[in-house]
């Protein structure tokens, strides 16, 4: 009796392993299934849900969602105030990205080529350390620096340069009634927050550039500027692009800083948050999300054309 049960058991296990042996793909399927379900169901599924939502509309008088296909929500995006939000966010993200790249490159270059092991470690630590504290704490700290009674106004006042700051702050377009209420402060804080995300990929890319390439370039008579343009920059491009994807998309999606800095004009993430959280206008929020995704897709396509992903 006991023997036969064991036999049957063995027979079952043998059957299972035999099945997997005869059908190699089934083992793969079983291993991939959880990840695939996760990705398809939760990730792609929710994006599909958003896409569907963006083609619905909200009934103005009842506030209920009208589930019939319409393009009216996308038409709403072209209303001047919504277009303003998209453009404002786009230019802010672009400016932050460019500025981060200019700031990050020299430091990354130094870290990759010149710093000693210990020096590099210290620099790594310095770059990463801000990421250990809360984003909100760091943003609030900048409020203390920029406030009218804050460190910056005080220090510039002592130097007699407060007039310069006032002139700067009152500049058209980017200015405001005070430093905190100007786009300049929002820009600076974004730049500060996302800088590590630019430094690290560039540094990683530059580290892979063999020193012999630079020597060879110089041996062939290229001046440093030419070497930089023709050798270093192209080889660092994947890092630059990777970093810019971070800084660009992080700025595009943020919805907290604009409530603390700048003149309270809405940015894209904030608009999505308000439309979903306050009025329940999911179609418009979904449409805004797709604008952000469309911008990123266009950007990634251009980056791919430029060959940024060839060395990945």
């Amino acid at each position: 009796m006991a023997l036969s049960q064991r036999d049957r058991r063995n027979g079952f296990m043998a059957g299972v392993s035999g099945f997997f042996y005869r059908h190699p793909w089934s083992k793969l399927l079983l291993l991939l299934l959880p990840a695939v379900l996760w990705l398809m169901g939760l990730y792609l599924g929710s994006i599909a849900g958003l896409l569907v939502n963006s083609f619905w509309s909200i009934e103005e008088f009842t506030g209920l969602i009208d589930r019939t296909f319409t393009l009216s929500t996308y038409r709403d995006l072209f209303e001047p105030y919504n277009r303003d939000i998209v453009l404002r966010t786009f230019f802010m993200a672009a400016a932050v990205t460019v500025a981060c790249a200019f700031l990050a490159f020299p430091l990354a270059y130094y870290m990759a080529r010149y710093a000693t092991r210990r020096g590099r470690f210290v620099l790594y630590l310095a770059v990463l350390m801000p990421l250990w504290s809360s984003y909100l704490v760091r943003a609030l700290a900048w409020r203390q620096i920029f406030a009218r009674g804050g460190v910056l106004y005080w220090a510039l006042g002592k130097l007699g340069l407060d007039g310069v700051l006032d002139t700067l702050v009152q500049a058209p377009v980017v200015g405001g009634s005070s430093l905190i209420a100007s786009k300049i402060s929002l820009f600076i804080v974004y730049m500060y927050l996302w800088l590590p995300f630019m430094i690290l990929p560039i540094e990683a890319a530059l580290e892979r550039v063999p020193g012999s390439f630079l020597e060879a370039s110089s041996d062939l008579g290229a001046r440093p500027g030419l070497t930089f343009r023709r050798i270093v920059l192209p080889l660092a491009k994947p890092g630059l692009i990777a970093g810019s994807i971070f800084t660009f998309s992080l700025t595009l999606g943020d919805f907290i800083l604009p409530t603390m800095f700048g003149s309270s004009e809405f940015y894209l993430g904030q608009q999505v948050f308000t439309q979903i959280g306050v009025v329940g206008n999911t179609p418009l929020a979904a449409a805004f999300t797709f604008v952000a995704m469309a911008i990123m897709i266009v950007y990634l396509t251009i980056a791919k054309r430029a060959g940024a992903f060839e060395s990945l």
């Binding site: 099945f19 008088f61 303003d84 405001g176 809405f266 306050v278 206008n281």
Partner: protein
Amino acid sequence: MTKWMRLLALVAVLSLVAAACGDDGGGSGGGSGDGGSVTSDDPDDATITTVGEGEGEVNIIAWAGYIEDGTTDENYDWVTSFEEETSCEVNVTTAGTSDEMVALMQEGGGQYDLVTASGDASLRLVAGGTVQPVNLDLVGSYSTVDERLQDATWFTVDTDGDGTTEHYGVPYQWGSNVLLYSTDAFKGKAPDSWSVVFEEQTLPDGESNKGRVQAYDGAIYIADAALYLKATQPNLGIEDPYALSQEQFDASLDLLRQQRELIGRYWHDAFVQMDDFVNGEAVVSSSWPFQVNFIEGAGKDFSSVVPKEGATGWADTTMMHTEAPHPNCAYLWMEHSLDAKVQGDLASWFGSVPSVPAACDGNDLLGAEGCATNGIENFDQIEFWRTPQSDCFAPDSGEVCVPYLQWVTNYVAVIGGR
């Protein structure tokens, strides 16, 4: 055997797919947010006629700071005694916005008993069938409630159409939005009109108010502009700042566009606003008693006033879920929440006004002047928050008002300089 295995695999895959689909179905059902899925029985059936033994616990959704058990500050505790007397353990879930409260209530059928809903959420909960009428006979202290609140329109509705209104809860606390100002900038002379935040002018300290004004960044603030116009432009005929015709609404937006020129930043977060005032970024703004208490307490030179045009305000109601799992404890809590000591302590803690006038006398924490400080005298000057609806709150009048959705869209545009 192979055939059998294949069958097993097929069943497994199918069940996974079914599970995934089931999730999807549930998700979209919840997302649609229609209160229809909550069973709304005949209101008469939902109410209970006697309060029995407590069920051992009660689950409440509340604003932060609204239900204190002494862990934040041991002087502020109106939970422990209740738990000892009734053996109902109080579990609090805090919510940050009215919309969060509505969502928690709609999705938490059978889980939550009570919610402290503000006027811009309470009618939504009633309309969605999420809350049930309260049998006032079982809340003995109801007669002690401020008479002006007993039948207030933001929680009493005649849902069954028999000519008498049902009470969907009991009032908890109320408060007024105020004009916060720097006594330095105003040279100790209190401004008496909201014009200091709407019209460009020279403040008593000799400088323009341009760039030194703040306003709330929520769309409900349009009502503040409408309230100002109600007093200053009577020809617009504004009666109720939450029921605006298109013309009245457009006039309010024009005023807000004019105000945009004066504003450095709109305020969104109470603590950021306090920071802005202390740092001199702003000297005058609409605000809440909460901020006023806080920065006055910090010894700064600020004060507040309800100007002659009146002010907007909020009034919260403890409402009971249709599927409340612990109705006895819920009724016991509603009775307890109207206790004069509880009301007074809470008013002192939150900077609000008690719904029970008796709470104003002889409360050590609140002090003799506490209710006056928090604005009990201002009741008649306050237009309490309600969610603007296209039917002007009068379904049969045939009038059309601008609904809240339009408020949000247009206020976002105004802030963006359009």
